[in-house]
Structures are given as structure tokens and as C-alpha cells.
Amino acid sequence: MTPESKNPSSMPDGLFSSREDLKEVARRLRRRIVTIIGKAGSGHPGGSLSAVEIVTALYWRVLRHKPSDPRWPDRDRFILSKGHAAPVLYTALAECGYFPIAELDTLRQLDSRLQGHADCCVTPGVETSTGSLGQGLSFAIGAALAGRLDSRGYRVYALLSDGECDEGQTWEAAMSAAHFKVDNLTAVIDNNGLQLSGRVRDIMNLDPLGKKWEAFGWQVSEVDGHDINQLLDALEKAKNVKGQPAVIIAHTIKGKGVSFMENNVDFHGKAPNAKELELALKELA
């Protein structure tokens, strides 16, 4: 059943784009991400760009949500555990209609609703405040358990970074989700291979990541995180997993779409300057 058939008013116009159109959505999000970070003069382009297809697939095809009613009790929940990628969430929320697109230009400014890391008390559509890594999955489990207790049909999605798997809390949460047999939860790991100060395998090797999650009791699938078809298929399959949580390890490229940002650790937390922004937008034209 598509969300549309269940509740036609639950989705704004255009969110059920064809799979081809989603590529265009992704391109638009990338342009907005580099633009607003460039304008802000600071921010995290690398991990925002790597997650674009994941966020696009979720917000345009998978999530049942109502931008006109961000706290709709039956909505699917999306938790951005890797809170520094706030720009990808903000651009998706704005494009979906949670707040005016023009507001994106206020990113990181004084009194803006768009803080450097997402704050659920000020930004419509943000489920929980994140930015301190490792906390989102626990929150997602709580939201999923509440849905189960109330027999609400919603599903919870948590987007984690690979570097975030350094945090012990991530594994506390992983263990407990399987223990509680939380099967209305899908975690997606934006496995871009880089963290703030270097390559994940050099900073703290996570391999074999899939086997770790499997050993913690999760149904694991691995996809090309920039291939929307693969993502949509994996997200759909995850919905049908019963009695255990599902995780999708999405292999991505940090800084994807902008040649000089791709696989470049310098753009984890650095804004493009005016010249770089111009170049980036040219590449994303």
C-alpha cells in the first residue's frame, strides 16, 4: 500500500516523484546544500552530500509524513543521528514544505530556526536534537517502542554515520533494539569512510561493519548509497523484516557530487569559499 492510497492528504504535491525524478531532487538538494553552507561560511558539506540520496529516497518515496502537520501522531519518524549533516535534512524539509525555502539562507545565523546542528524545539519537522553523536539510535528505539505500545503503524528511520559507530551508545542501542525485537525500525548507515580527522579505518577501524550489526541481532543489507533504486528496494525489504530491526549499510562517497570535496576529509567541516562554491554549482548544474 502506498502512503498516498492510505492518506492522500498526508503528502504534499510532487513528493511521489518517479525514480528518475528523484535524481533531479537529489541534484537540487546538493546545490542547496553547498549554497547554504557557502553562504553561512561554516558547516559540514561532506557528510551532508554523502547522505543526499538516502534522504531523498526517504522523504520523497518512503516516509508517510505531513509537512503541514509535523507532529502528526501517525507519521513515520526520521531521526538524523549524524546531526552535523543538518543541511541535508534542512534542505529536504524545506523542499517538502515544512518551512519556506528562503529560510534556508539563514542557516547558522543568530536567531535562525536552522542551527548548525538540528534542534527539534525550533525547526519544524526535526524529531530530536542531535549533534552529539551516538544518541539518535536510542531515541529511535524509544519512538519505535512507543508506536508499538500504542499500536500505531508508523515506522522509525535513523540515519547514522559510520564514524558514529565509534560511540559505545550506538552499540548499547543496537543490542537493545534486537533484544526488544523492534521491527518497526530501520537504521541506515551513511558509510562514507571518512570522519573528522581522517579515514574511518585509520581512526578506529569498524570492519567488518556488517558482521558486527548482524552479530548484534540486526537484519543487514548493503547497498550503493547513491543508487536510489537500490536504496528504495532495501528500504522496502526492511519494512518486511519481522521480529528484529533492520540496518542498511549504504556505501557512499563523502562530498559526493562535487569533485574537489569527494573523499576529501578537509570538507568534513569546512564551507566552500566563493570560488569553490561557484565551481561546485557548475559541477552540479
Binding site: C121, I141, A143, E172, A173
Partner: protein, 313 residues
């Protein structure tokens, strides 16, 4: 002899009552349910009880997620482990997100006894009071505990309730009514005011009774809500009695004394003395031995009262 009743036993039983009254009440524990007494709730409502294992950070995160979807989670562990072991989770997932999570901790302070320093939370109030929006409550007896638990369940917003391990003498009669943010004058007096919380309330009353023999007329106030603080009662006490002694089973840094001193300094400066743990960790021993060792007895309060009255001039 005043009857002694367990605060945590009371907590466990009130949780069950609340569970019967409100299906949205859920409880989480980190492998301490026989000690925090959330086990009663677990037995009656297994579907609404989440044993997370020895994983306090995850417990707080799950509680936050439950709260964000309309549940009223009570998360319990020892006071050393929350906020100590999960401060950032409380800070970001609960406080910054302004979620309706109730953290009820037991085994606070040196009255834990034999388990020693690692298990004796003496800095938890300082940590939790530093977080915007938190309501922080330290009941003085079982009657106040029962009412405080009901009050935090009914109050929307993050709350922290600190309970001790041993049974405590009843301070209140059953008709007592606890209100969040309201101090309670337990004894009138015009020469000096003792402001106490938790375990120290009974000690404060004993000190006042002792000093009556020396002709010192000592007011005693219980300040069960450390945040938001009942500033009016402090200002009134400072202006009417001209000297204040605070008493808490907590570090001197950032606890009750600091909070009261801020109000006094700003509104009505009077001499103050602080009965608290003086920048040291606890240790092993019997609760009463430890209270004596760390200067937390009625005698210590009496000594502080004499000193502050001398300074009053």
C-alpha cells in the same frame, strides 16, 4: 520514636499506582530494579517496563524517544549513574529537546554506606541543576516522596528526583501537601534559618531542638525543590532571621548552598554557613558513621548555627 520508611520502596509502590491510573506511564531501569524498586512496576506491567541492561546512556535515549511520542517515562538507576554516566544524553536528548522524561535516582550521597566512594553521588545535583528547564526534587521522607513522584508525573517537562538508600524518619504527617517549587517551613524561628534537603532535614530539626536549650530560636525550612528554587522563602528567611545555614548531603560546589547563596547575595546579603561535603569523595562505612565523618550531622549543623550567629554580631 518516629517511624522510619523507605523512600525508594515508596517510589516503587507509587509507580504501580500511577501505572494503573495512566497507561502512558512507562518505566526503564538499568539492571537495578531490585534496588531502585521499579521491580514492582515490572511485575505488574511487563509490557510497559524496559530493562535496558547496564547501559544508562541508551536508557536515557530510549526514554527520550518514548517521551517524544507521548509516553511518560520514568528512568531509574543509582544517583552516581544518572546524571554521571549519561550526562550528555540527558543534556541533548532530554533537556535540549525539552522532553517529558522523569529521572528518579536512588542511593544518593554517603548514606549509601559500605559500597564506598564510587557509589556515593555527591555532585549529581550540581550537574542536573546546570541543565536548562530541569525540575529537581530531593524529598525528605517517604510521604514527600510519594507526593513528589505524583507531582512530577503530572508536570510536563524533564524532572529529576533524588532518593537515598536508607529508610528515613517521617518528617511529615499524611495530610502534608507537596507542591513543586514550594519550600516548607517546618519550624518557626527568628534568630537564624536552617535550609535543608533530603537526609539533612531531620538533622536540621534535631539541631534546632538542641539549640533551643541555648536560647537560640531557629527556623527550619525544607527546600524539596532545588530547581526552580522558592526564592521568596529564602528572601523572607534572610530578612527575618538575618542568618542562614544550608544543609545537604552533597558537595558544597553547586548544590543547595550555592543556590541559596545566589539568592541571598542578590537580594538580602546576610551571613551564611554551609553544611555539605567539602571537596572530597565519600568512603565505606555505616551511613551514620559516614554522615559524622563528612560533617553532616545535627551536631555539625548546630556548630554552623553558632558560628553564623556569631558572625551576625
Amino acid at each position: 520514636m518516629v517511624e522510619e520508611v523507605s523512600l525508594r520502596e515508596t517510589y516503587g509502590k507509587v509507580l504501580v499506582e500511577l501505572g494503573r491510573e495512566n497507561p502512558d506511564i512507562v518505566v526503564l531501569d538499568a539492571d537495578l530494579s531490585p534496588s531502585t524498586m521499579t521491580g514492582y512496576f515490572m511485575k505488574e506491567f511487563p509490557q510497559r517496563f524496559f530493562e535496558v541492561g547496564i547501559a544508562e546512556q541508551n536508557m536515557i535515549g530510549i526514554a527520550a524517544g518514548l517521551a517524544a511520542s507521548g509516553k511518560i517515562p520514568f528512568a531509574s538507576t543509582f544517583a552516581v549513574f544518572a546524571p554521571g554516566r549519561c550526562f550528555d544524553q540527558i543534556r541533548v536528548s532530554v533537556a535540549q529537546s525539552k522532553l517529558n522524561v522523569k529521572i528518579v535516582v536512588t542511593h544518593a550521597g554517603v548514606t549509601v554506606g559500605e559500597d564506598g566512594a564510587t557509589h556515593e553521588a555527591l555532585e549529581d545535583l550540581s550537574l542536573i541543576c546546570s541543565l536548562p528547564g530541569f525540575t529537581v526534587i530531593v524529598p525528605a521522607d517517604a510521604i514527600e516522596t510519594a507526593q513528589a513522584i505524583r507531582a512530577v508525573a503530572a508536570h510536563f517537562g524533564p524532572c529529576y528526583v533524588r532518593l537515598c538508600r536508607p529508610k528515613l524518619p517521617l518528617v511529615y504527617s499524611p495530610d502534608y501537601r507537596f507542591d513543586i517549587g514550594k519550600a516548607v517551613q517546618l519550624r518557626p524561628g527568628g534568630d537564624v534559618t536552617v535550609i535543608a534537603i533530603g537526609v539533612m532535614v531531620t538533622q536540621g530539626l534535631q539541631a534546632a531542638a538542641e539549640l533551643e536549650k541555648e536560647g537560640i530560636d531557629c527556623r527550619v525550612i525544607n527546600m524539596p525543590t532545588l530547581k526552580p528554587l522558592d526564592e521568596q522563602s529564602i528572601i523572607k528567611a534572610a530578612r527575618e532571621t538575618g542568618a542562614i545555614v544550608t544543609a545537604e548531603e552533597h558537595q558544597e560546589y553547586g548544590g543547595l548552598g550555592s543556590a541559596v547563596a545566589r539568592v541571598v547575595a542578590r537580594t538580602s546579603p546576610v551571613p551564611m554557613e554551609f553544611v555539605a561535603v567539602k571537596d572530597t569523595f565519600g568512603g565505606s562505612g555505616k551511613p551514620e558513621q559516614l554522615l559524622a565523618k563528612y560533617g553532616l550531622t545535627a551536631r555539625d549543623i548546630a556548630g554552623a548555627i553558632r558560628k553564623v550567629i556569631e558572625r551576625k554580631g
